[in-house]
Subunit: 112 residues, 2 copies
Amino acid sequence: MSVLRKLTPETATLISDRFRALGEPMRLALLHQLRGGERSVSDLVAALGAGQANVSKHLQLLHRHGFVARRKEGVTTWYRIADPSVFELCDLVCGGIRAEAKSRRRLVERLG
Amino acid sequence: MSVLRKLTPETATLISDRFRALGEPMRLALLHQLRGGERSVSDLVAALGAGQANVSKHLQLLHRHGFVARRKEGVTTWYRIADPSVFELCDLVCGGIRAEAKSRRRLVERLG
DNA sequence: CGACTAATCAACTATGTAGTAATATTCTCT
DNA sequence: AGAGAATATTACTACATAGTTGATTAGTCG
Protein backbone atom coordinates (compact mmCIF):
# COMPACT_ATOMS: atom_id res chain seq x y z
CA MET A 1 0.00 0.00 0.00
CA SER A 2 2.88 2.34 0.62
CA VAL A 3 4.42 1.91 -2.81
CA LEU A 4 3.08 4.04 -5.67
CA ARG A 5 2.63 2.19 -8.92
CA LYS A 6 2.03 5.22 -11.05
CA LEU A 7 3.75 8.53 -10.49
CA THR A 8 1.73 11.32 -12.04
CA PRO A 9 3.44 14.66 -12.64
CA GLU A 10 1.23 16.16 -9.92
CA THR A 11 2.35 13.64 -7.31
CA ALA A 12 5.94 14.00 -8.40
CA THR A 13 5.64 17.74 -7.88
CA LEU A 14 4.05 17.29 -4.46
CA ILE A 15 6.83 14.99 -3.35
CA SER A 16 9.64 17.05 -4.84
CA ASP A 17 8.27 20.20 -3.21
CA ARG A 18 8.54 18.50 0.12
CA PHE A 19 12.08 17.31 -0.53
CA ARG A 20 13.09 20.76 -1.70
CA ALA A 21 11.71 22.22 1.51
CA LEU A 22 14.28 20.09 3.32
CA GLY A 23 16.98 20.89 0.79
CA GLU A 24 18.31 23.90 2.61
CA PRO A 25 20.92 23.81 5.39
CA MET A 26 19.36 26.53 7.48
CA ARG A 27 15.97 24.85 7.45
CA LEU A 28 17.57 21.61 8.60
CA ALA A 29 19.34 23.54 11.34
CA LEU A 30 16.02 25.03 12.41
CA LEU A 31 14.38 21.63 12.56
CA HIS A 32 17.37 20.34 14.46
CA GLN A 33 16.98 23.09 17.03
CA LEU A 34 13.30 22.32 17.38
CA ARG A 35 14.22 18.76 18.12
CA GLY A 36 15.06 20.08 21.58
CA GLY A 37 11.51 21.36 22.02
CA GLU A 38 9.55 24.50 21.38
CA ARG A 39 11.58 27.59 20.50
CA SER A 40 10.75 31.22 19.82
CA VAL A 41 11.89 32.94 16.66
CA SER A 42 14.45 34.97 18.56
CA ASP A 43 15.76 31.82 20.23
CA LEU A 44 16.34 30.38 16.80
CA VAL A 45 17.87 33.57 15.45
CA ALA A 46 20.31 33.54 18.36
CA ALA A 47 21.05 29.83 18.02
CA LEU A 48 21.79 30.02 14.31
CA GLY A 49 23.38 33.45 14.27
CA ALA A 50 21.36 34.31 11.19
CA GLY A 51 19.26 37.24 10.08
CA GLN A 52 15.87 37.51 11.75
CA ALA A 53 13.87 38.07 8.57
CA ASN A 54 15.57 35.15 6.94
CA VAL A 55 14.82 32.81 9.81
CA SER A 56 11.23 33.97 9.81
CA LYS A 57 10.91 33.27 6.11
CA HIS A 58 12.34 29.79 6.44
CA LEU A 59 9.98 29.07 9.32
CA GLN A 60 7.05 30.21 7.20
CA LEU A 61 8.05 27.77 4.53
CA LEU A 62 8.45 24.89 6.97
CA HIS A 63 5.07 25.79 8.41
CA ARG A 64 3.44 25.95 5.00
CA HIS A 65 4.65 22.42 4.36
CA GLY A 66 3.37 21.22 7.71
CA PHE A 67 6.78 20.37 9.14
CA VAL A 68 6.39 22.77 12.04
CA ALA A 69 3.49 24.21 14.01
CA ARG A 70 3.32 27.55 15.77
CA ARG A 71 1.65 29.18 18.69
CA LYS A 72 1.55 32.87 19.52
CA GLU A 73 1.97 33.99 23.07
CA GLY A 74 1.86 37.74 23.46
CA VAL A 75 4.43 39.19 21.17
CA THR A 76 6.47 36.05 20.66
CA THR A 77 5.80 33.12 18.37
CA TRP A 78 6.72 29.63 19.48
CA TYR A 79 7.55 27.03 16.88
CA ARG A 80 7.62 23.29 17.33
CA ILE A 81 7.96 20.16 15.23
CA ALA A 82 4.63 19.11 13.77
CA ASP A 83 5.81 16.19 11.68
CA PRO A 84 8.38 14.00 13.44
CA SER A 85 8.88 11.98 10.28
CA VAL A 86 11.40 14.62 9.16
CA PHE A 87 13.90 13.06 11.50
CA GLU A 88 13.37 9.63 10.03
CA LEU A 89 13.96 11.26 6.66
CA CYS A 90 17.19 12.81 7.88
CA ASP A 91 18.35 9.53 9.36
CA LEU A 92 17.66 7.73 6.11
CA VAL A 93 19.54 10.39 4.19
CA CYS A 94 22.43 10.11 6.60
CA GLY A 95 22.50 6.38 5.96
CA GLY A 96 22.72 7.13 2.27
CA ILE A 97 25.56 9.54 2.85
CA ARG A 98 27.46 6.93 4.82
CA ALA A 99 26.90 4.36 2.08
CA GLU A 100 28.04 6.79 -0.57
CA ALA A 101 31.15 7.69 1.40
CA LYS A 102 31.93 4.02 1.83
CA SER A 103 31.60 3.25 -1.88
CA ARG A 104 33.72 6.27 -2.72
CA ARG A 105 36.35 4.97 -0.32
CA ARG A 106 36.22 1.57 -2.01
CA LEU A 107 36.74 3.26 -5.36
CA VAL A 108 39.74 5.20 -4.11
CA GLU A 109 41.29 2.05 -2.67
CA ARG A 110 40.82 0.25 -5.94
CA LEU A 111 42.58 3.04 -7.79
CA GLY A 112 45.41 3.58 -5.25
CA MET B 1 23.44 5.80 16.95
CA SER B 2 21.23 6.97 14.14
CA VAL B 3 20.36 10.30 15.72
CA LEU B 4 22.81 13.19 15.34
CA ARG B 5 23.30 15.22 18.49
CA LYS B 6 25.22 18.03 16.87
CA LEU B 7 24.48 19.30 13.39
CA THR B 8 27.50 21.08 12.01
CA PRO B 9 27.03 23.36 9.00
CA GLU B 10 28.99 20.86 6.93
CA THR B 11 26.69 17.98 7.80
CA ALA B 12 23.64 20.16 7.26
CA THR B 13 24.95 20.98 3.81
CA LEU B 14 25.63 17.34 3.01
CA ILE B 15 22.12 16.35 4.03
CA SER B 16 20.41 19.27 2.33
CA ASP B 17 22.32 18.59 -0.88
CA ARG B 18 20.89 15.12 -0.88
CA PHE B 19 17.36 16.33 -0.23
CA ARG B 20 17.70 18.93 -2.94
CA ALA B 21 18.81 16.22 -5.37
CA LEU B 22 15.41 14.61 -4.78
CA GLY B 23 13.63 17.96 -4.90
CA GLU B 24 12.95 17.86 -8.61
CA PRO B 25 9.95 16.17 -10.26
CA MET B 26 11.85 14.86 -13.25
CA ARG B 27 14.50 13.25 -11.10
CA LEU B 28 11.79 11.53 -9.09
CA ALA B 29 10.21 10.38 -12.31
CA LEU B 30 13.56 8.97 -13.45
CA LEU B 31 14.02 7.09 -10.19
CA HIS B 32 10.47 5.84 -10.49
CA GLN B 33 11.19 4.48 -13.96
CA LEU B 34 14.33 2.78 -12.70
CA ARG B 35 12.23 1.09 -10.09
CA GLY B 36 11.19 -1.22 -12.94
CA GLY B 37 14.81 -2.19 -13.53
CA GLU B 38 17.74 -1.06 -15.61
CA ARG B 39 16.97 1.47 -18.34
CA SER B 40 18.98 3.15 -21.06
CA VAL B 41 19.05 6.90 -21.40
CA SER B 42 16.95 6.76 -24.55
CA ASP B 43 14.44 4.52 -22.77
CA LEU B 44 14.10 7.18 -20.13
CA VAL B 45 13.92 10.00 -22.64
CA ALA B 46 11.09 8.17 -24.38
CA ALA B 47 9.31 7.31 -21.13
CA LEU B 48 9.38 10.85 -19.82
CA GLY B 49 8.96 12.63 -23.12
CA ALA B 50 11.71 15.03 -22.13
CA GLY B 51 14.78 16.46 -23.81
CA GLN B 52 17.79 14.14 -24.07
CA ALA B 53 20.31 16.62 -22.73
CA ASN B 54 18.11 17.40 -19.79
CA VAL B 55 17.57 13.76 -18.89
CA SER B 56 21.29 13.13 -19.20
CA LYS B 57 22.06 16.03 -16.90
CA HIS B 58 19.59 14.86 -14.27
CA LEU B 59 21.03 11.35 -14.44
CA GLN B 60 24.52 12.76 -13.94
CA LEU B 61 23.34 14.51 -10.82
CA LEU B 62 21.63 11.41 -9.44
CA HIS B 63 24.77 9.46 -10.19
CA ARG B 64 27.01 12.01 -8.52
CA HIS B 65 24.91 11.65 -5.39
CA GLY B 66 25.09 7.88 -5.53
CA PHE B 67 21.37 7.35 -6.08
CA VAL B 68 21.91 5.56 -9.38
CA ALA B 69 24.70 3.47 -10.91
CA ARG B 70 25.54 3.07 -14.57
CA ARG B 71 27.06 0.60 -16.90
CA LYS B 72 28.15 1.24 -20.45
CA GLU B 73 27.45 -1.32 -23.10
CA GLY B 74 28.70 -0.25 -26.47
CA VAL B 75 27.20 3.07 -27.25
CA THR B 76 24.38 2.92 -24.76
CA THR B 77 24.48 3.62 -21.05
CA TRP B 78 22.33 1.63 -18.68
CA TYR B 79 21.23 3.21 -15.45
CA ARG B 80 19.92 1.45 -12.38
CA ILE B 81 19.04 2.24 -8.79
CA ALA B 82 22.10 2.14 -6.56
CA ASP B 83 20.50 3.26 -3.32
CA PRO B 84 17.09 1.68 -2.70
CA SER B 85 16.61 3.86 0.37
CA VAL B 86 15.29 6.59 -1.96
CA PHE B 87 12.03 4.72 -2.10
CA GLU B 88 11.76 4.59 1.65
CA LEU B 89 12.37 8.33 1.58
CA CYS B 90 9.60 8.82 -0.95
CA ASP B 91 7.22 6.66 1.06
CA LEU B 92 7.95 8.65 4.19
CA VAL B 93 7.36 11.88 2.31
CA CYS B 94 4.12 10.51 0.95
CA GLY B 95 3.03 9.73 4.49
CA GLY B 96 3.80 13.31 5.41
CA ILE B 97 1.76 14.56 2.48
CA ARG B 98 -1.17 12.44 3.55
CA ALA B 99 -0.90 13.72 7.12
CA GLU B 100 -0.72 17.30 5.92
CA ALA B 101 -3.72 16.84 3.65
CA LYS B 102 -5.66 15.34 6.52
CA SER B 103 -4.87 18.21 8.90
CA ARG B 104 -5.75 20.70 6.19
CA ARG B 105 -9.06 18.90 5.75
CA ARG B 106 -9.67 19.09 9.50
CA LEU B 107 -8.98 22.81 9.38
CA VAL B 108 -11.42 23.33 6.54
CA GLU B 109 -14.11 21.36 8.36
CA ARG B 110 -13.60 23.44 11.48
CA LEU B 111 -14.03 26.61 9.46
CA GLY B 112 -16.93 25.39 7.31
C1' DC C 1 -0.44 57.79 24.40
C1' DG C 2 4.51 57.08 23.15
C1' DA C 3 8.70 54.15 23.43
C1' DC C 4 10.08 49.57 22.87
C1' DT C 5 10.24 44.75 21.26
C1' DA C 6 9.07 40.55 18.44
C1' DA C 7 7.77 39.02 14.26
C1' DT C 8 6.10 39.38 9.59
C1' DC C 9 6.04 41.45 5.13
C1' DA C 10 7.76 43.84 0.88
C1' DA C 11 11.26 45.04 -2.32
C1' DC C 12 15.52 44.18 -4.08
C1' DT C 13 20.00 41.70 -5.39
C1' DA C 14 22.59 37.78 -6.26
C1' DT C 15 23.12 33.08 -7.03
C1' DG C 16 21.77 28.52 -8.51
C1' DT C 17 19.76 25.63 -11.65
C1' DA C 18 16.17 23.66 -15.02
C1' DG C 19 15.55 23.57 -19.80
C1' DT C 20 17.27 23.91 -24.52
C1' DA C 21 20.09 24.09 -28.72
C1' DA C 22 24.35 23.16 -30.58
C1' DT C 23 28.56 20.64 -30.39
C1' DA C 24 31.61 17.00 -28.99
C1' DT C 25 32.64 12.29 -27.88
C1' DT C 26 32.40 7.41 -28.28
C1' DC C 27 31.05 3.35 -30.24
C1' DT C 28 29.20 0.38 -34.29
C1' DC C 29 28.65 -0.97 -38.84
C1' DT C 30 29.68 -1.03 -43.70
C1' DA D 1 37.94 5.70 -43.18
C1' DG D 2 33.25 7.54 -43.14
C1' DA D 3 28.35 7.56 -41.69
C1' DG D 4 25.23 7.19 -38.22
C1' DA D 5 23.49 6.49 -33.43
C1' DA D 6 23.58 7.11 -28.23
C1' DT D 7 25.38 10.03 -24.56
C1' DA D 8 27.68 13.63 -22.68
C1' DT D 9 29.12 18.40 -22.55
C1' DT D 10 28.91 23.32 -23.23
C1' DA D 11 26.87 27.79 -23.53
C1' DC D 12 23.01 30.22 -22.93
C1' DT D 13 18.29 31.89 -21.15
C1' DA D 14 14.72 32.08 -17.81
C1' DC D 15 13.05 31.53 -13.44
C1' DA D 16 13.13 30.43 -8.51
C1' DT D 17 14.79 31.52 -4.18
C1' DA D 18 18.28 32.69 -0.29
C1' DG D 19 19.72 36.66 1.98
C1' DT D 20 19.40 41.58 3.24
C1' DT D 21 17.37 46.08 4.28
C1' DG D 22 13.65 48.79 5.54
C1' DA D 23 8.94 49.25 6.57
C1' DT D 24 4.80 47.48 9.03
C1' DT D 25 1.98 45.18 12.33
C1' DA D 26 0.92 43.62 16.97
C1' DG D 27 1.69 43.31 21.64
C1' DT D 28 3.89 45.21 26.22
C1' DC D 29 5.29 48.50 29.61
C1' DG D 30 6.13 53.11 31.40
